[in-house]
Symmetry: C2
Subunit: 412 residues, 2 copies
């Protein structure tokens, strides 16, 4: 059960002009499961993406990079679940290329205009014949209002489908931004998350689109962690069809602020949904670090807290064993941190209590306050490092019995 998250209703996911989605059962790993998704874009659409920094990245990630290097034009995404096609060597590269070629043949476009994505088990080969055999069914299913079905079809250990959508009126124009994501474990994105796709019918110049994808990822998928494991398949792609007629060529465009906010907002909803659906999660935790010398050191501290199994199990238990947070701050890697200058607050909703200052327990802190706050499903840990003006936020979840159960049982 995700923490305070439900998939938007199908009618709340606004179609994006120039985008159609289709899903099918290709039988890639399990029977009776829609495991293949095709997303088709109108001619003239452009894409930009950010991908995992994992050095053992999956074959489809390599192919995505190659195809986006040719040019920004895009006609389709093809996504399979079940097998990640990662750590699969040359055979895996061939499978990803063959997939793109098959989609290109169906749609009458170049293979370089197709981006492939896979998610699932690593170190096993993709049954590429079954995938390709399933493509005509996915094509036959293409429709502008299938975002909801596509959000379901890209799930793996997710317990809930993840989607977000906005209609934006900007000055005299309007456009739509709709996206889907998947992910619940192996989540510590480094440039992107497992899979996130956001489309808009605004038109965006390629260089600006790349900046938008990077900035949106940095403010969303690059701020989350479930287990600290950076996936081999992380991919986040923004596609602009231009079909709304609203064209945005530079940051000077009057529509840029609304576009940037909408894409970033949708990306953030999708990223937070992944944490809310984090494997075994019972709580959604925001770690906000201010007062740092650099944003990078604030992120270091926030991730140290977000990755600490001791902190995460204490949240699961609603146990205000807050010394574990101080320990994590201390080992986060800021060599000249003055512990006496650090302050830590714990909050939920409108309530916030100062837990620690001057290198110790705050004078007014009472354990029952900490216990009460820890019982909430939405908790904020706020830290002031007392050494500068930079800040950073990380969203994470707790660590429960079910995390172990899910990850000890996955595959079996």
């Amino acid at each position: 059960m995700p923490v305070n998250y439900a998939t938007p209703a199908p009618e709340a996911l606004f179609p994006v002009a120039g985008v159609r989605l289709g899903t099918a059962e290709a039988g890639i790993r399990k029977k009776n499961r829609r495991d293949l998704t095709l997303i088709e874009f109108a001619p003239g659409s452009m894409a930009a993406g950010v991908f995992t920094q994992n050095r053992c990245c999956a074959a489809p990630v390599t192919v995505c990079r190659e195809h986006l290097a040719v040019d920004s034009r895009i006609r389709a995404l093809v996504i399979n679940t079940g097998i990640a096609n990662a750590a699969t060597g040359e055979q895996g590269m061939r499978a990803a290329r063959d997939t793109c070629a098959a989609v290109a043949k169906l749609l009458g476009c170049a293979a370089a205009d197709v981006l492939p994505f896979s998610t699932g088990v690593i170190l096993e080969h993709l049954p590429v014949e079954r995938l390709i055999a399933g493509l005509p069914a996915a094509q036959a299913d293409l429709a502008a209002d299938h975002w909801h079905a596509a959000a379901h079809a890209i799930m793996t250990t997710d317990t809930v489908a993840k989607a977000a959508s906005r209609r934006v009126v900007s000055v005299d124009s309007q456009f739509t931004v709709t996206g889907i994501s998947k992910g619940a474990g192996m989540i510590r994105p480094n440039m992107a998350t497992m899979l996130g796709f956001v489309a808009t019918d605004a038109g965006i110049a390629p260089a600006l689109l790349q900046k938008l994808a990077k900035d949106a990822a940095d403010a969303s998928f690059n701020c989350i962690t479930v287990d600290g494991d950076t996936s081999t398949n992380d991919s986040f792609v923004v596609i602009a069809t231009g079909a709304s007629g609203c064209m945005i060529d530079s940051e000077a465009s009057p529509h840029w602020p609304a576009l940037r906010d909408a894409v970033t907002g949708v990306a953030r909803e999708l990223a937070q949904a992944i944490v809310r659906d984090g494997e075994g999660a019972t709580k959604f935790i925001t770690v906000r670090v201010d007062g740092g010398g650099t944003a990078a050191e604030c992120r270091q501290v926030a991730y140290a807290i977000g990755h600490s199994p001791l902190v995460k199990t204490a949240f699961f238990a609603s146990d205000p064993n807050l010394g574990r947070i101080l320990a994590a701050i201390g080992y986060a890697g800021i060599a000249d941190l003055d512990a006496a200058g650090v302050r830590v607050w714990l909050g939920s909703g409108d309530e916030e209590v100062l837990v620690s200052e001057h290198g110790g327990r705050a004078a007014g802190y009472r354990e029952e306050d900490g216990s009460r706050i820890m019982k909430n499903a939405e908790i904020t840990v706020r830290i002031d490092l007392g050494r500068g003006a930079a800040g950073a936020t990380v969203w994470t979840c707790d660590f429960s019995y079910d995390y172990v159960k899910i990850n000890a049982d996955y595959r079996s």
Copy 2:
């Protein structure tokens, strides 16, 4: 239950000439528990230590550093469990200093010749009056053959006491090395572990003693991880009484190799015992990384594997979901790693199978081989990065339901 580890019998822990140990119930946090340990050294004894790099280090760690900065002479260690005296500000510093002063008064030495150690809950104040009130009982209990009792008295979430001992004959001399350690969670030592104490009746020149402590820690406590959380209280101290008459002034001494090997060997036994008793551990895992450009990058890779919750839960489940290991290698932070050059083996006892090479699954690898090896309690993951001649080893354990249970329930 620890993985293949039992506390040595009392008679297997050889007394060290010049060392006496006493324990007492001071009632620091729980009743009916020996929570106070005093270790007394003969005049002329020298000590060297390495301590946590956590910037929120505990008050006793700061006092240890101060006292060892005065000179290497030492007359006593005083250790309490229950409260870590970490994140306790000025009041914590006073408590640690008052403890040393009280011990010094009892033994008739300078306060700077006493080193204090605490372990337990962070962010709570040490009941220093109860600790000091318990010191006479600990003093009355002092005896040369109380290593076994002391190993028990320093335990917290440990399920087993940890100790190791060797008698060494070197050329025409002989000496003894005996040590104890504690720790099961918050274990990712950075310069030392929770608490480790090794004494020898060899005499060692102070500068050489410091090198010995550092080298022994680097080959033992600095190679282990349970949960990746570097404690606020990590301390490892080597004490040399000189009472055996065997004096070692430099690395040119004929006794140096035997001394170095004995101290390092004892430290390694103590460090591995901590992993074998890791919270919830059911398996002991050796991660050996060779073929690196530097030892540091080999350690990065080994720790990435040792810290990955996904890898650790797969070991718990005996599930050869070995793509998770490849993913961890890929995100370990070697920016120019060529995944195609990496090879991964899985082994236990005399058996070892090649799992991955050329960026994918090894041709001869069969899942049933992986499954069979994963069922063992002692498993080795061996990796060749294929880019150099450096290597490193990390010892870790798996991640089970009981890890969550222990850490969700600790304190309550």
